[in-house]
């Protein structure tokens, strides 16, 4: 909202005149002019509730009366004290915050709150950052008049992350209100009444929240505490370092709280344009993986007997470079392969690419998320990301959001909350389109469901419908109407499109749909005459799964397209991941350098990757854990995570954000950046830049959109990149005319119900079994057991009981998992996490086509399942 759009009103506080924006609550207005009003339950991010009563002030309202024949305005005090947190200021209002009445009330409320409060500040985590302490210090009575026994209840667990100390709760209800108003999951409720009122966790009833950690921050006292942090540190001993969460592509801003070289907790660092101060439990709690006993502490070299031996860094680097030189010499520089995940900083991507392309001279590399087929034709997709993607702010201020193939609440939880909040404030309409019912569609205006394997046809029907709304089939008419009626549409796509076997086709179709929406409809239903400047604004943001997916694309593809074209002309474009692995298998590449990725575990053709790594003569893995890929490594280099290092990342809105280096370390682990530089030095490269910052400034010069940015000057809230600005004439291009495609008139799922085969829908969940998730002890508990879900119809048809274990058998292999039954899943389908805890889903995935499975009951197997694939 624009500040200057707000009307200003004149108010008087404690006899002084102020001008403040209309509609502010008295407490906010007072704060903005530096007048102190204590609050407990009042919390800007929740609706006012006015329960704690600490903030009561005297209020006078203006009234016009006749006096001696003249109309005069007098201010008359309201008979009752008013809640400053819940009363909005208005013109002429007078407020008294320091009268005897106000003071007496504050003292009394504090006394009421303290009569049952334990005297345990020294052992309470909140000590030093407790609102009750602060306010009691200012206004409280020194002596307790309470002669009765205090209220005592044993602590309770809220969930895997949070412990609730009942004795300390002051019943401000912030936590309960948060879970109903913001998170929408009702993890906590008030139960009982009167002085027995208590905050009741609902986790035992199966309620799961993705946002529970936030309550530890905003609980004004130490009632809700972070189990990972309990008794670990004191607020005043902590160091604070601003950083960015890489748990998903939202770019959520975080503050690392550290002490004695370790991260102690992760708190929010409010960026109103990004996260509004909320974190997901993944943002907050996966850091625990850093201190997992499984973390690699020293460089490891595989011995002849197959066992790893700890070595010093110098030896490890020399070993890597000697072999690198050997394979370059034997197989040629083009034979070297480099693979990097999507949670690394731009500087790491840049230096890795420099190593591969400049110093080695190979075009065989892949950074970031595997998007099937995209390497064959990345051009349109990359162009769309660069020029058509937009900021989250703009997404939430669009007329319509079309969230296609994405479950926002799972894939970008904090962004989902931001969207929902803006929807509530009269913001965008939300259309969701998925193969199954998702959690993220809870507030959607239209929830559209397509048969999983018919996603492409569903898009084709949409493309034609956007061009000729009159001919659109009934079931998509409402969507087309919304989309056509909007001046701004934000298209978001996610995992169900990006990781589909036919991802490239789907993306291409979605871009066609965007195109058609940009073409204005004429009165005759055809494309309208070009109307300067009035093109509907259609933006396009993929919701990637990784924290720096955009950076990975930028350094892995965009700048490589030209190079690769020359190099690989005969065989098409730059080789994609599948080709990289196939070539290794074919003996064309015998040296593979892997940073922060685990394709032996999660590539949708696990046989291919595992055989390739097996075949590859020399594999370097740079990671935090002995991943499945690392099991094939000749050298394992212990790396710090991006969180422990500094650098820059691009979030899904192309926001360039900076991670600052916290004062933490891990035995001998080094940053990816340093390790790569050591390799470069060992190879004899002369390096002109020493630090990450210098390196950023160096490569930024070569990249037009960031060439003006200085590393040291990147603001805490980041910089939104505007690729549009560098376009020559600054005009939006003429969208031209409609595209039409061959589309079926109806969507029919040809799921093999007859032959008993079911279609597998791999899904990206926030609570998933990725390496980092599973090494973070508490987060792993929250992830729980591996399971899949089928519809009640199928459960009945197949005679499968919820909770029983089945084998999912595809032509690629079989795994055993527990079955749950859910009406969210369409009949004929099996919904399953694409990153199961403890089980390799990749064993049953079929590359290039949708996976179909047979459900075979498993007798005598214990629940929880196990992988039956070769291990």
């Amino acid at each position: 909202m624009c500040e200057n759009e707000k009307k200003l009103v004149k108010v008087k506080i404690d006899g002084r005149d102020f001008t403040v924006p209309e509609g502010l609550y008295i407490s906010q207005a007072a704060e903005s002019v530096g007048v102190d009003i204590p609050v407990f339950c009042g919390f800007d991010k929740l609706k006012p509730w006015a329960g704690c009563r600490i903030c009561l002030v005297e209020v006078g309202l203006p009234r016009t009366i006749e006096k001696d024949g003249e109309r005069v305005t007098v201010v008359s005090k309201l008979p009752k004290l008013q809640a400053a947190c819940a009363t909005q200021v208005c013109e002429g209002m007078e407020i008294w915050t320091d009268t005897e009445l106000v003071d007496a009330n504050r003292k009394r409320v504090l006394e009421f709150l303290l009569i049952n409060h334990p005297l345990e500040c020294p052992e309470c985590d909140k000590g030093g950052e407790c609102l009750l302490q602060d306010i009691a210090y200012k206004y409280g009575l020194a002596e307790s008049r309470m002669k009765e026994p205090k209220r005592v209840l044993p602590d309770a667990d809220v969930n895997e992350f949070i412990r609730l100390n009942y004795k300390r709760c002051i019943h401000c209800k912030r936590c309960v209100r948060f879970h109903s108003e913001v998170a929408g999951d009702h993890l906590l409720e008030f139960a009982r009444r009167g002085s027995e009122t208590l905050v009741l966790p609902k986790a035992d009833d199966g309620v799961k929240s993705k946002f529970s950690g936030n309550e530890v921050e905003f609980c004004p006292v130490g009632a809700l505490s972070d189990k990972l942090y309990r008794f670990k540190a004191r607020e005043w001993d902590l160091g604070y370092t601003p950083s960015v969460s890489l748990a998903d592509a939202t770019g959520t801003n975080i503050m690392l709280h550290h002490r004695q070289g370790r991260i102690k907790r992760v708190w929010s660092r409010e960026n109103p344009e990004v996260d509004w101060g909320w974190l997901s439990d993944k943002d907050r709690f996966v850091y625990e993986a850093l201190y997992s006993p499984n973390r690699i502490k020293k460089p490891l070299i595989r011995q002849k007997d197959g066992k790893f031996k700890e070595v010093a860094w110098g030896e490890a680097i020399r070993y890597v470079v000697d072999n690198l030189k050997f394979y370059i010499g034997r197989d040629g520089k083009e034979s070297i392969t480099g693979i990097a995940g999507g949670n690394l900083t731009n500087e790491v991507f840049a230096v890795f690419r420099r190593l591969l392309t400049n110093h080695i001279g190979t075009g065989r590399y892949h950074f970031g998320q595997f998007i099937p087929g995209i390497s064959l034709n990345p051009g349109d997709f990359l162009t769309a990301i660069m020029f058509d993607s937009t900021s989250w702010e703009k997404v939430t201020h669009s007329d319509v959001i079309l969230a296609w193939g994405v479950d926002l609440l799972e894939e970008a939880p904090v962004l989902a909350l931001k969207i929902e909040r803006d929807m509530e404030n009269g913001g965008p309409m939300l259309i969701t389109a998925n193969s199954h019912r998702t959690s993220g569609e809870r507030f959607a205006n239209i929830k559209y469901h397509y048969p999983y394997r018919k996603q492409a046809d569903a898009l084709r029907i949409m493309i034609n419908g956007a061009a000729k709304p009159a001919d659109a089939p009934e079931e998509i008419k409402p969507m087309i109407e919304y989309l056509r009626g909007a001046d701004t549409v934000a298209v978001l796509i996610g995992n169900e499109m990006l990781s589909a076997p036919n991802a490239t086709e789907l993306i291409d179709l979605m871009l066609k749909l965007c195109h058609n929406l940009r073409v204005k409809l004429g009165e005759d239903g055809d494309a309208a005459e070009r109307d300067q400047g009035l093109t509907p604004d259609i933006t396009f943001n993929p919701i990637f799964r990784d924290g720096n997916a955009v950076g990975a694309l930028l350094f892995g593809h965009l700048m490589a397209v030209g190079v690769a074209h020359e190099k690989d002309e005969a065989e098409g474009a730059k080789p994609g991941l599948v080709r990289l692995f196939q070539d290794i298998l074919a003996g064309k590449s015998n040296f593979c350098y892997v940073i922060g990725s685990d394709y032996a575990r999660n590539f949708p053709d696990a046989k291919l990757t595992r055989n390739a790594f097996e075949k590859c003569e020399f594999v370097v893995v740079q990671d935090q854990f002995i991943t499945e890929t690392a099991k094939y490594a000749n050298v394992i280099l212990p790396a710090l995570t991006a969180q422990e290092d500094e650098g820059t990342v691009f979030s899904g809105e192309k926001r360039l954000q900076r991670l600052h280096k916290p004062d933490v370390s891990f035995p001998q682990a080094d940053s990816d950046f340093n390790i790569l530089r050591k390799v470069l030095v060992e190879m004899g490269a002369s390096l002109r830049t020493a630090s990450v910052g210098e390196y950023f400034n160096h490569f930024a010069q070569g990249l037009q959109v960031i060439s003006h940015i200085d590393y040291g000057a990147i603001p805490e809230d980041g910089i939104l990149l505007e690729f549009g600005e560098v376009m020559e004439d600054g005009q939006s291009p003429d969208p031209g005319s409609f595209i039409t495609v061959d589309a079926p008139s109806k969507l029919e799922e040809a799921a093999g119900k007859d032959d008993g085969l079911m279609v597998l829908i791999p899904k990206l969940y926030m609570f998933n079994g990725e390496n980092h998730s599973m090494n973070a002890e508490h987060f792993a508990q929250a992830v729980g057991k591996a399971f899949c879900e089928i519809s009640p119809t199928d459960a009945e048809r197949l005679g499968i009981k919820p909770g029983s274990v089945v084998e999912l058998a595809s032509r690629a292999g079989g795994i055993e998992v527990e079955v749950r039954v859910s009406a969210d899943v369409p009949p004929g389908h099996v919904l399953i996490s694409d990153s199961l805890p403890g089980i390799r889903l990749a064993d049953i995935l079929t590359l290039g086509e949708h996976t179909v499975v047979n459900l075979l009951p498993v007798t005598g197997s214990k629940a929880g399942g196990s992988s039956s694939g070769a291990d």
């Binding site: 006012p48 509730w49 006015a50 329960g51 704690c52 009563r53 600490i54 009561l56 008979p79 009752k80 004290l81 819940a86 007496a104 009330n105 009394r108 409320v109 006394e111 009421f112 709150l113 009569i115 049952n116 008049r145 309470m146 002669k147 009765e148 026994p149 205090k150 209220r151 005592v152 209840l153 044993p154 309770a156 002051i170 019943h171 209800k173 409720e189 008030f190 139960a191 009982r192 009444r193 009167g194 002085s195 027995e196 009122t197 208590l198 009741l200």
Partner: protein
């Protein structure tokens, strides 16, 4: 000499009056027919407004004025009949629900017609299982006879009706909590504005009226606003049902003109004080200040009681003779509020509980003089500062008992009196005993 004036209670003793046929035989639903046949909705509202009918649920807000707050546009609007009667000493709504339910329903339909209600919800205290069954039967009868449903009696007014059992808490009777409870949530007072008349049940314009308020409406329609104005006093026009309990010879429910002298009422209608001389009354339900006998010579009206230091409230009229132990009385009252505080606001949640604990300690003979200061401070800390009037209702009795019967507290503190409890009071609170919640 005071006498009863039976308006709502007219024919209450007639055998079978709770059935539709008998009620109709005694003139039932004539007012509704008159309204549907002869009056526009605005005329009905205007008539009730003119009559000066004040709400009988406790706050005394003019009913017609309240109906006038409802926006005029079309769309869903609701009437909630507040039949949650839980105020200690008050049992007049229960009498209507049991014996004269059709009169309440007729009044509700007329009110609904006046402001365009599309649905009537009758929210009946959960413990009134017998009355819930009766009212459900009555609603079924009314549907069958065409008094409810589509096109009532051939007119173009339609309204549906649902009977809803209450959720078992005193706070459910507070209007915004009642709406929360109806929507299936925990009863807890909500912020106003938005006022229910603008954004109430399911965010639709909603009127909440007490059972007795609505049961008075048919008579006003039949006999006219002027007739109603001719009864009672200027500021308290009309009649009021009193639930009489305590040390009187004839406890029960009595309907009288407002303004009758209190002592006269006790003497002539309630059959006089039983077992001794009058010590005190609580004239308006447990929430209002206690009146020592010396102050009782006053009119029973909103303004009369206010001037004498108490309130009409819900007219739950309790009489105490000279042998009553007032500290025990306030213990029971304060226990009720500690038990029924919804827990939302600090002052009431903690204050009610603390007060009850202190009073109990005084009763056990462990009190000290400074406890009286603490009691006073705690009560003052609640009054006018709580989120909803329950906090006031819990404070006023404590303040007034301390004011008028302080010496009885001191008797306990100084050891002249000591309570030897025979048993744990029902609903006794003491958190130290609480173990893991039983949920």
């Amino acid at each position: 000499m005071a006498e009863e004036t039976k308006i709502v209670m007219l024919d209450m003793d007639v055998e079978g009056i709770s059935s539709l046929s008998v009620y109709e035989k005694h003139g039932g639903y004539a007012a509704l027919k008159k309204v549907l046949g002869e009056m526009t909705p605005d005329e009905v509202t205007a008539e009730v407004k003119k009559s000066g009918l004040r709400g009988k649920g406790g706050a005394g807000f003019p009913a017609g004025v309240k109906w006038g707050f409802i926006p005029k546009d079309k769309g869903e609007k609701y009437l909630c009949v507040n039949a949650d009667e839980s105020e200690p000493g008050t049992f007049k709504d229960q009498a209507i629900l049991e014996k004269m339910p059709h009169r309440m329903l007729e009044g509700a339909i007329i009110a609904g017609y006046a402001f365009g209600a599309t649905h009537i919800f009758i929210y009946i205290r959960g413990e009134f299982w017998k009355e819930i069954n009766i009212v459900q039967r009555v609603v079924d009868e009314a549907y069958e006879a065409g008094y409810l449903g589509k096109g009532i009696l051939g007119s173009d007014y339609s309204v549906e009706c649902t009977v809803h059992p209450g959720a078992g808490a005193y706070i459910c009777g507070e209007e915004t909590s009642l709406l929360e409870s109806l929507e299936g949530r925990r009863a807890e007072p909500k912020m106003k504005p938005p006022f229910p008349a603008i954004e109430g049940l399911y965010d639709k314009p909603t009127i909440i009226n007490n059972v007795e308020t609505l049961a008075t409406v048919p008579a006003i329609i039949e006999r006219g606003a002027d007739w109603h104005l001719s009864l009672g006093t200027e500021k308290s026009p009309g009649i009021k049902m009193f639930s009489v309990s305590g040390h009187v010879n004839k406890p029960g429910v009595y309907e009288i003109e407002l303004g009758v002298n209190q002592l006269d009422f006790i003497e002539t209608i309630c059959g006089g004080v039983k077992g001794g001389r009058l010590k005190a009354t609580i004239p308006g339900g447990s929430s209002v200040p206690v009146m020592p006998a010396a102050n009782c010579d006053c009119p029973l009206s909103f303004e009369g009681l206010q001037d004498a230091g108490s309130m009409l409230g819900s007219a739950g009229f309790m009489v105490f003779n000279e042998h009553t132990d007032m500290v025990k009385v306030i213990e029971v009252i304060s226990r009720f509020y500690a038990h029924e505080s919804c827990g939302k606001c600090t002052v009431c949640r903690e204050g009610t509980h603390w007060i009850n604990m202190i009073i109990n300690r005084i009763l056990r003979g462990e009190g000290a003089m400074d406890d009286l200061v603490t009691l006073q401070d705690a009560a003052d800390g609640m009054e006018m500062k709580s989120f909803c009037p329950l906090g006031d209702a819990a404070a006023w009795p404590v303040q007034s008992f301390l004011k008028h019967f302080r010496h009885e507290f001191i008797d306990y503190i100084e050891g002249r009196k000591k309570l030897v409890p025979k048993y744990e009071p029902v609903g006794a609170i003491g958190h130290h005993k609480l173990v893991k919640p039983a949920y």
